[in-house]
């Protein structure tokens, strides 16, 4: 089924575009330590709010323009005419542990100290925004996948059991679902976070966010799956399996799951953006990922300063653009998948 789906996606230009963008994003995330010139915590207080450095060609080799600070209060930097520093590719930088266990030093590009390269400028403590974007992607892009796996499992179990058994189980499960849906989700998110956070270390916030998001997210999926399970229950093959004496669990996994798989896949793709957005929103409110970690939402929170707005430090808002690109790609891919899996529900072409 997956092979067939992949083939169908690649037949559509929009699907191909989405896959390419996602591949670039996730490769960038996986190799972020290699691609980023600096560590996300690497400060340089002498170059706070540094604008993106210009890249110039000298002797057909890329060089970075060197800047001098003119006015520290207004974060004004002027390029020094004629002074540049060469960019070194595949050079050794500060040591890091690749994927957490392989010690390495090699980075894609580096600039001779004391000059620094800021592809997307620097923030208030002189940290490289580009590097932080790449490191932040590790949180922002993975949280959707992990969250969605937990949610869909929970949603399938609750919805499937409620739909299959019906009666009191169904009644209880659906009242719970309605309750969760009735409360505006961000209220619940913040309240749950307040209750859970202090029981964990600040470094475990990632885990806390995943738990919170999954605790809320399963309700919507469960309701729809229950509806589908209700109709599946009456189908001859399920009745046959029952007559043959198969256990409920076996029916649930052997007969319901394959029939719901395509829905689960589409729903998963379409709800990943919700997770990315929710993590960003929590971090943005200062309730998610904490320093020294990074995530796109946290970076946006730190950009929420009067200075940024009045001095037009647009590069500090690039995490927002990154969230936007990721979310729009997942949304489009979800629509493409839905068109393939369920042509009757097409929204775009009718």
């Amino acid at each position: 089924m997956l092979k067939h789906l992949f083939k169908e996606i690649t037949r559509r230009p929009m699907g191909v575009a989405c896959l390419v963008i996602l591949a670039v994003l996730y490769l960038g995330t996986v190799f972020s330590q290699f691609l980023a010139p600096y560590l996300p915590t690497d400060q340089d207080l002498t170059s706070a709010y540094h604008p993106p450095t210009r890249i110039v060609l000298e002797d057909w080799r890329p060089h970075v323009q060197v800047y001098e600070q003119v006015d520290p209060a207004a974060a004004r930097y002027e390029p020094i005419e004629g002074e540049t520093a060469p960019i070194k590719f595949f050079a050794a930088g500060e040591e890091y542990r690749f994927w957490g266990f392989i010690p390495a030093q090699m980075r894609l590009f580096q600039v001779e100290e004391p000059h620094r390269i800021y592809l997307l400028g620097s923030d208030g403590t002189g940290r490289d925004v580009f590097s932080r974007l790449l490191y932040g992607a590790q949180v922002s892009l993975s949280i959707g996948f992990i969250g969605i796996c937990i949610t869909m499992t929970l949603g399938f179990l609750v919805g499937g059991i409620a739909g299959y058994f019906g009666g009191r189980t169904d009644f209880l499960a659906m009242r719970l679902v309605e309750f969760i849906i009735a409360v505006p989700s961000l209220y619940l998110l913040i309240a749950l976070r307040g209750a859970l956070a202090e029981h964990f270390e600040p470094e475990q916030m990632y885990l806390v966010i995943v738990i919170i998001l999954s605790l809320i997210g399963w309700a919507g999926a469960a309701r729809i799956i229950r509806g589908m399970a209700l109709s599946l229950r009456q189908r001859p093959f399920v009745l046959a399996a029952e007559v043959m004496g198969q256990s409920s669990l076996r029916i649930l996994f052997r007969h319901f799951l394959p029939n719901l798989a395509s829905y689960l896949l589409v729903a998963a793709t379409l709800s990943i953006p919700a997770y990315i957005l929710a993590e960003a929103a929590l971090s943005f409110l200062g309730l998610g990922i904490q320093e020294p970690g990074t995530s796109w939402g946290l970076m946006l929170q730190q950009a929420q300063e009067l200075k940024v707005f009045t001095l037009n430090l647009w590069w500090l808002l690039t995490p927002g653009a990154a969230i936007f690109i990721t979310v729009i790609t997942f949304n489009m891919l979800g629509d493409v998948l839905r068109d393939i899996v369920d042509p009757r529900q097409q929204m775009v072409k009718r």
């Binding site: 309750f179 009735a182 409360v183 505006p184 989700s185 961000l186 209220y187 913040i190 309240a191 749950l192 307040g194 209750a195 859970l196 956070a197 202090e198 029981h199 953006p273 957005l277 960003a280 929103a281 943005f284 409110l285 946006l300 950009a303 929420q304 009067l306 940024v308 707005f309 009045t310 037009n312 647009w314 808002l317 927002g320 969230i323 936007f324 979310v327 729009i328 949304n331 489009m332 929204m347 775009v348 009718r350």
Partner: protein, 323 residues
């Protein structure tokens, strides 16, 4: 009709009870309490804190406090804000109108933009306008509200055309009545657009899909065969039918607006319910949190109820009593 409304109100009661219990439990699980800030300050005497502890009944388990609170609520007393030392009702009265106005304006803005755009996109299907508007819908659905709010603040700061936050300017008190209204309106433009943007996209997609559904139905062919003008067919026959799902979608959209308003109100410093909830949760101002969250849910349920009533009014096929 009256019976339907009463029944809806009755079903709200268990839900509100559930929510209040949930909030109390969650706040009890969260370590620390409101007095943590006071305890760390050395110039506040210990007797004072003890007296406050006793007054707020912080030493009791959550269920005891819950029933004390519930008893007061039944008598119409929602308790007192520990931060501001004013009754919670007073605080809510200040904040709810602001959020209501913002939500209502956002929905109106969304409808005013989305209906014409959705209709045009459906009539001129596959044209350039259709493509551009569907791209716009994708973009508007995908942009995080708080990022849009940041962009709006940036825009306001750079151009100076709009205030960067708040609900009124400093000299508000000295203005004439119309001057005040204009001042409010000036402050509301950006928050309304920011909050309404996502709803524009959802409404537009629903509108377009429904319009396309009805455009090919038999009664439209009949209307055309009778020789009615195209404008009359489109706007009286098709639009009249296609608009109903928008009404029922409004309830769902209100829910997303209430969630989104926490973020937008915080970024744009708008004194609404969302900001109040956030601040109270951070400071563990228990009664304010419970009351404000419940008010948010009541607003949501009332919104759903109004949407249902509107739907019954606009679509004569729907009979509420029989459901």
């Amino acid at each position: 009709m009256l019976f339907f409304i009463i029944r809806r109100f009755v079903t709200m009661i268990p839900l509100l009870l559930g929510i209040s219990v949930l909030v109390f439990v969650l706040m009890a699980i969260a370590p620390g309490d409101f007095l943590d800030v006071a305890r760390t300050q050395e110039d506040i005497p210990a007797e004072y804190i003890e007296r406050m502890e006793e007054e707020f009944a912080l030493g009791e388990p959550w269920h005891t406090r819950y029933f004390i609170w519930l008893g007061n609520v039944v008598q119409g007393n929602l308790g007192e804000s520990w931060i501001y030392r004013v009754p919670v009702t007073e605080l809510l009265w200040q904040r709810i109108p602001a959020t209501l106005v913002l939500s209502a304006l956002s929905i109106m803005f969304a409808l005013c933009v989305a209906i014409p755009m959705g209709v045009l996109a459906a009539i001129y299907k596959d044209s350039i306008f259709d493509r551009i508007s569907s791209m716009f819908a994708y973009a508007a659905l995908s942009i995080p509200e708080f990022f849009l709010a940041l962009l709006a603040v940036m825009f306001a700061a750079q151009t100076g055309w709009f205030p960067t936050g708040g609900l009124s300017s400093v000299e508000h008190e000295f203005m004439s009545f119309w001057g005040r209204m204009a001042d409010y309106a000036h402050h509301l433009v950006l928050p309304t657009i920011v909050l309404g943007m996502g709803s524009v996209a959802s409404y537009m997609r629903i509108m377009r899909a429904n319009f396309l559904d009805y455009i090919r139905s038999d009664f439209v062919t009949t209307a055309r065969a009778k020789g009615l003008g195209e404008g009359r067919v489109m706007f009286v026959h098709v639009l009249r039918n296609a608009i109903n799902p928008l009404v029922s979608a409004s309830g769902f959209i209100l829910a997303t607006l209430l969630s989104g308003s926490i973020l937008v109100e915080n970024v744009m410093n708008y004194p609404g319910l969302g900001q109040l909830i956030f601040e109270a949760l951070m400071r563990q101002d228990e009664f304010v949190v419970v009351a404000a969250v419940m008010m948010g849910c009541v607003m949501l349920m009332l919104g759903n109820l109004i949407a249902d009533l509107l739907l019954a009014w606009s679509d004569p096929r729907i009979r509420l009593e029989k459901n």
